[in-house]
């Protein structure tokens, strides 16, 4: 007994020593006061220590300005999915810090994109670390308003010189039911259809029937007519993408205008029957339901063994992620993941790929789509709202704003003055503007409990078109309506 316990004690001591060593190695990052040599490695205190000591900025006097982006300037991995945004932040942060020397120091805290909205809501409620500014879609607004997460910006925004230049419909999307403005829109990200011209030589079909006809022909060539985000992952984000584009293009919507969910309408049923047909007839591959953005691979056409798709309805910002791409005629754009986000834009400029609005169905007069809005909110309890406002003003200067709209914005500038800049005079921006002009509306209409609504809608439609293709559509939609509306009572 005594002997074994001594033996064990030795093992224990050895283990503890190992662990202590490990801990000591990790200490520079965790220690309260990092030693001078280890300072640059310390992400722990993102404050003044982060400013490279070499530039000798008098950082202590400047106030911190904290942002939440889905991008991480410290991630220099060129193959990271967010490499475009990461690289942008890395270049833009020193510029901002130089412009506001002695005044503000910009500190960014990266967040997972699909968790940002809930993270901010809980952080504000929970007295967590709240940023001064968060980059978000306007779709989050109902959630923020319900939970009292963001500041009313009306008076400040209206007093700014650039206010008159903003696209009124984008400002409207940032306006709450009380006619107050809660976010500042910078770029519009309409949902459009990217398609390979070789597969649609006569242009993208105008109606669902034409599309089905062409899809049958493409199937003969072993090409899937369409790919889309059909997974129920990412908190039900599918509800805002292809599902909504089809439903809106069939003249349908998700709500009754009074805050109730109303999926069970003749238009929606027709739209879902159409989506069912796409799956049943094999016009889209299984990748569309896999999640993790595997559906994008179909459009890329890089992997010779992977399925090949002809079109992809998604947000205009899709070009940042869908790369490199290879046209059906064999031209390849980009060799590896390109942190500038260029390959897809090149394909569009070369005329191999094009952008269109969705086709209409069920006799609807015009197609519909969801419009995402790349915008900024200032959370309640932000410590440095002045820094946030200075940053927004800084971005409204075309010298800084153009690049922002191109990279993290990933869409069309809301500031109409910017739209006249030369960089936006390219096929991509022109086609995206034409494909979405006056058609796109936020998906949620009058719904308010958006996280719940998204999950219910995505799961219901997924079930109807994939898991239970023989189930009664009207009954399932009615069940979804009842489930959501229970919470309204």
């Amino acid at each position: 007994m005594q002997q074994t316990s001594t033996k064990r004690s030795i093992t224990f001591a050895a283990l503890t020593a190992t662990v202590a060593l490990l801990a000591a190695c990790g200490a520079p990052a965790a220690a309260p006061a990092p030693s001078p040599t280890a300072a640059p490695a310390a992400t722990q205190a993102p404050a003044a220590t982060e400013v490279p000591a070499a530039t000798a900025t008098p950082a202590k006097q400047a106030t911190e300005f904290v942002t939440w982006y889905q991008y991480d300037e410290k991630n220099e991995d060129p193959k990271n999915d967010e490499a475009v945004g990461n690289a942008y932040l890395r270049e833009s942060m020193p510029k901002f810090n130089a412009a506001f020397k002695d005044q503000f120091v910009w500190v960014n805290q990266p967040q997972q994109w699909q968790k940002m909205v809930t993270s901010l809501v809980t952080a504000v409620q929970a007295g967590g670390e709240v940023p001064d500014l968060m980059h978000t879609g306007a779709s989050a607004l109902p959630v923020f308003l319900k939970q009292g997460t963001v500041q009313d910006l009306t008076d400040w925004v209206k007093a700014q010189p650039w206010f008159a230049d903003l696209d009124p419909s984008a400002v409207q999307a940032c306006t709450g039911p009380d006619d107050r403005i809660y976010c500042v829109p910078l770029a519009e990200q309409p949902n459009v259809v990217f398609y390979w011209k070789d597969y649609f030589p006569n242009g993208f079909p105008k109606t669902a029937d034409e599309f089905l006809k062409r899809a049958a022909e493409l199937k003969q060539e072993n090409v899937y007519a369409i790919t889309y985000f059909g997974s129920t992952g990412f908190e039900g984000d599918a509800a805002t993408r292809y599902f909504y584009s089809v439903i809106a293009s069939f003249g349908g919507r998700y709500d009754d205008g009074q805050g109730n969910m109303k999926l069970n309408t003749p238009e929606n049923i027709k739209a879902i029957e159409f989506m069912r047909e796409i799956v049943q007839k094999g016009y889209s591959s299984d990748n569309v339901f896999l999640g993790d953005f595997k559906e994008e691979n179909d459009l890329k056409g890089i992997d010779p063994n992977a399925p090949r798709a002809a079109s992809f309805p998604t947000g205009s910002f899709g070009y940042r992620y869908i790369q490199p791409v290879k046209a059906p005629n064999g031209t390849q754009y980009g060799n590896d993941f390109d942190p500038t986000g260029g390959p897809m834009l090149e394909a569009i400029a070369a005329g191999d790929m094009a952008i269109s609005a969705m086709f209409t169905g069920g006799g609807a007069a015009q197609p519909g789509c969801h419009i995402g809005l790349s915008s900024f909110v200032i959370p309640a309890g932000a410590r440095n709202p002045d820094g946030a406002k200075a940053y927004i003003n800084w971005l409204m200067d075309p010298a800084n704003g153009v690049e922002w709209v191109q990279k993290p914005g990933g869409g069309l500038p809301v500031n109409q003055k910017l739209m006249q800049e030369k960089v936006f005079d390219t096929p991509f921006y022109k086609q995206a503007a034409a494909a979405s002009a006056g058609l796109c509306k936020p998906w949620y209409g009058s719904l308010v409990r958006l996280p719940e609504a998204k999950q219910i809608i995505a799961a219901t439609i997924f079930d109807l078109i994939k898991a239970n293709p023989t189930a009664d559509i009207a009954a399932a939609l009615q069940r979804a309506d009842d489930e959501y509306n229970r919470g309204n009572q």
């Binding site: 093992t11 224990f12 309260p32 280890a38």
Partner: protein
């Protein structure tokens, strides 16, 4: 299954071989996922997405397997660790990967501190339960036993609210101290961080304590009282008796409590994710870091695999080094707790 049982009873040599083969098969199933992840983490992208998939990237156009042709890369690890030259850092390079420079030290801190706390507290409570008779002892012991079954999950909402209430209680105080100039903003932030860290460790300690108390108490029960008595008769003070006699005797069970808690906290995900992971990014544990990584590296499985290996390896090593204590701990904990 029955064939093996018969083999056990009859002890035929053929049956022994069959049993060994069966055991090797089981071992293979249990090890293979870990092993294949290790191999995957050393592949290059082109071999990762090959169809049909291959376990080893060692095929040539002519042969299915040629050890000389193996294509192993460390790209996955490079991207996780992300070494960047920095003349100011130690050795001229710095680790930029958040998983390594922030989340791993966090996890080590949570695991080691939490496990030490549990060891001390379980030792103290286990000793009291084993050596003293008092009213309500039986009820308390059964209560603690029942609590070992309560998962962290159902308490999380409340624990989250408690952490929030604590933050709201101390937040204005820190703000005031910063306003007075008593603290700099950096110090205030560090204090806030440490408040959350310590709260989290305390939550872990409270969660893993009941099982450890049972393990330690059960072990104390097997140590004869006479050994301590003898120490007292020899004129030792209570402190001396504790450090020289009691702690060395109880060491195996204390080590068991330490290890079980260490592994438990190392692998804990949901509490860390919900309590600090969403709003205090720099306090995330390494598993939350891996979860986070998947949000922006959807295609590069070698990177995900490398991260998984980096998380798995330390605990596997700890387990292999202290496996005897582990087995003993789990059996004691399982049979008695």
């Amino acid at each position: 299954m029955m064939a093996t049982y018969r083999a056990f009873a009859a002890r035929k040599p053929a049956a022994r071989i069959a049993a060994n083969i069966a055991a090797i098969g089981v071992c293979f199933i249990m090890i293979f996922p870990v092993f294949s992840t290790l191999v995957l983490s050393f592949k290059q992208q082109a071999d990762v997405i090959r169809t049909p998939p291959q376990l080893f990237p060692c095929d040539t156009p002519s042969e299915p397997f040629n050890i000389a042709a193996c294509r192993f890369f460390i790209e996955g690890y490079q991207r996780i660790i992300d070494l960047q030259p920095n003349p100011q850092a130690l050795l001229g390079t710095e680790v930029r990967g958040r998983i390594i420079n922030t989340y791993l030290p966090n996890t080590i801190f949570y695991s080691v501190t939490g496990a030490l706390m549990v060891t001390v507290l379980a030792g103290s409570a286990g000793y009291a339960f084993s050596r003293y008779e008092f009213r309500g002892k039986r009820v308390l012991l059964i209560g603690i036993l029942a609590i070992t079954g309560i998962p962290l999950l159902t308490n999380l909402l409340a624990l989250y609210q408690i952490v929030v209430d604590l933050r709201k209680a101390t937040g204005p105080l820190f703000d005031q101290l910063v306003a007075n100039g008593a603290l700099t903003r950096d110090t205030a932030r560090l204090l806030r961080d440490w408040q959350d860290r310590i709260t989290l460790v305390c939550i872990y300690a409270g969660f893993f304590l009941p099982l450890s108390i049972w393990i330690v108490k059960g072990f104390f029960d097997t140590i004869p009282h006479e050994l301590e008595e003898a120490a007292f008769i020899d004129g030792a003070s209570p402190a001396q008796a504790l450090t020289r006699v009691i702690v060395p005797l109880a060491m195996p069970s204390l080590l068991a409590a330490f290890l079980l808690t260490f592994v438990g906290i190392w692998n804990e995900f949901i509490a860390n994710y919900l309590i600090v992971g969403t709003s205090r990014q720099n306090l995330r544990s390494v598993i939350v870091g891996v979860y986070d990584l998947t949000g922006s590296n959807l295609i590069n499985y070698q990177v995900l695999a490398a991260a998984c290996v980096l998380v798995m390896l330390p605990v596997i090593v700890v387990f292999l080094a202290a496996r005897h204590t582990f087995f003993q701990a789990m059996l004691e904990g399982a049979v008695k707790g």
